[in-house]
């Protein structure tokens, strides 16, 4: 599999996915 960090779009999309995942983890943990 190609490393997503080799392209700018792969990098940005990976960042958005991490943001989404961390947001829900923190939101859940704060309840």
């Amino acid at each position: 599999m190609k490393n997503p960090l080799d392209t700018l779009w792969g990098t940005v999309i990976s960042g958005l996915v991490i943001t989404f995942v961390l947001f829900y983890i923190v939101k859940f943990a704060m309840q």
Partner: protein, 166 residues
């Protein structure tokens, strides 16, 4: 004291953060693609000689200043944030960890390898090729992490905090 620590501290944290992340985006969105294009006709020497060392100077010291001012703002809540001791500090704790990982990448992975790539320290062609890949991936990792970093930083205070976390 609050004025200095929180008012001036947060302002300087943002100013140095703009310097750091602004140059990170310059490297990833402008310089790397430009050097790839310039490699085709061998016209990239001006960038590597005159632009990259200056950009790297403000980049790495901007990173240090951002981290230090961030630590100053956290002050006596530093451990509560980093160790996730109180739920109120979870959002800024995540932001602080992301910023710390990125700060580590700048000083431990990007800068030492860039010195080899730019010829500031001796390195063989094989070492330079390896350094280029390490510095590139560390820089791309920081670009990726800057997206959640900026979310957690902006969603950790005032009206924005209430809007995001309730």
């Amino acid at each position: 004291m609050d004025f200095l620590q929180l008012g001036i501290g947060r302002w300087l944290h943002v100013v140095s953060g703009v310097m750091w992340i602004g140059l990170l985006y310059y490297f990833n969105f402008v310089q790397v693609p430009a050097l790839a294009e310039a490699a085709k006709d061998g016209s990239g020497a001006g960038i590597t000689k005159h632009v990259a060392p200056r950009a790297l100077f403000w980049f790495r010291w901007g990173a240090l200043a951002t981290w230090v001012f961030g630590a100053i703002i956290l002050g006596r809540h530093f451990l509560e944030a980093f160790l996730f001791m109180k739920s109120a500090y979870y959002p800024i704790g995540v932001g602080a960890w992301l910023g710390t990982i990125m700060f580590f990448n700048v000083w431990v992975l990007i800068w030492p390898n860039q010195k080899k790539i730019l010829g500031m320290v001796q390195a063989s062609d094989a070492e330079k090729a390896k350094s280029r890949r390490i510095a590139f991936l560390a820089s791309r990792t920081n670009t990726m992490l800057s997206i959640p970093l900026l979310f957690f930083m902006t969603a950790s205070g005032g009206l924005f905090r209430t809007a995001v976390w309730g």
